[in-house]
Symmetry: C2
């Protein structure tokens, strides 16, 4: 864990459409950056994954329910209707802001529903149905195409309680450890560390965001220099309800 870390943006990706072979496009972009190396972790923005998986809704096809109308508070009730369709539970609403638990168990603004910048204000992008499956499938396809064993993180920008702004976190992971559990390990001074769990997959997603940006159309980055091979799930990063003090 203690070598130098490099975070390399993957540039030159085209606008993505449903059915595009994202792995092929990522391999082309990575080739321009020197290709993948063993142990690399590929971070891909959720929005890119969702677009190729067709997780896109056009507002013209949405009929808002009375509940959506009452929550909208001046915002487009069709957008609220889409959010309600993605939500398992609403945690807080301050119209038109909705903090919800998604069907996957993620707690985030708008149940992860986001505007599709490229396709205009009438198109919304939903979270992938199964971000772990998306990550695993990308990982497998990248191995087929290049022979490289890379870890994959599907990331999204989440707000946080008590803090301003978003940081990117890992929704789905494949081939890496998501939470580094130092319980029972010893630090450099020989003292046992108790119950120290580090959400490394979230920190990796955040590091990648720093080079991906939202303005530049760079939907992916390679994080190089970590030794985190493992078999985790993005679900490992979701606080189990019985341990959650903030519901």
């Amino acid at each position: 864990m203690t070598g130098e870390l490099r975070v390399i943006p993957l540039r030159g990706m085209p606008e993505l459409e449903q059915g595009d072979d994202l792995a092929v496009l990522l391999v082309e972009a990575s080739s321009r950056a020197g290709g993948f190396e063993p142990g690399d972790i590929l971070v891909v923005a959720q929005k890119a994954v969702s677009k190729v998986e067709g997780r896109v809704v056009h507002l013209g096809a949405v009929e808002p329910s009375p509940r959506a109308r009452s929550l909208a508070a001046g915002a487009d009730p069709r957008r609220i209707e889409v959010i309600l369709g993605e939500a398992r539970e609403l945690l807080r609403t301050r119209p038109p802001l909705v903090i919800a638990e998604t069907r996957h168990g993620f707690v985030c603004a708008s149940a992860g529903v986001d505007a599709s910048n490229a396709k205009g204000p009438d198109t919304l992008v939903l979270l992938p149905l199964d971000p772990d499956a998306s990550a695993a499938s990308l990982r497998e396809r990248l191995h087929e195409l290049t022979g490289a064993e890379v870890g994959v993180v599907v990331s999204d920008s989440f707000g946080r309680a008590w803090r301003v702004g978003t940081t990117d976190v890992a929704l789905g992971v494949a081939g890496i450890t998501a939470v580094l559990d130092l319980d029972g390990l010893y630090d450099s001074a020989g003292y046992e560390l108790h119950a120290t769990q580090i959400a490394v997959a979230d920190e990796i997603a955040g590091a990648a965001q720093l080079v991906m940006g939202k303005l530049d159309g760079i939907p992916a980055a390679v994080v190089r220099g970590l030794r985190l091979r493992g078999d985790a799930s993005g679900k490992d990063l979701i606080m189990p309800r019985e341990r959650d003090l903030f519901r």
Copy 2:
């Protein structure tokens, strides 16, 4: 924002004591890693800053109050007493776990009070009194010593609501932007981005944590390749109470 990012651990720092000149030690460590470059951001673990600033408490000198005893639930009530002394408000208590708002306004476990690994279980380390001042003073001293203009982040590991594990965040910052505000800017497809704020200083702290680790005694790292010069405060990352939905 879109070049390659490098995160370089600063190795070989000694165990720190009150009164140590942290800047001198950091410059020595950075020299072994090739020195600072313009635009570098130095991330230093809060614990290192607190130790040299003498923000250390020995449990032998602590007399627990009745309130601390009632909250301790089998844990050391002296430790709870120290936490209460650092807390402005308790948000949640599940003895012996305490989520508190610190005097600075940070919401975190144990009001930021942590075991000092190196000094044994009877010594606790508190957060710096003013992490922004600590960051600014380090930045100034590094400039005196090397002529380099580096940004500084004082970081700590915070848990998060709804998610497992900690990620490092920025408590104090100097010489950089903490929150990148994309409101009114346009993405690569020409659509205006509304109210997108990215907590880049927190993502920088998290990226640095990936090479610092908790087991390796590496209290600092250099983040290179970002263009984030600015004049922010760590307070910019604290959600104002009136906007906070989770109190």
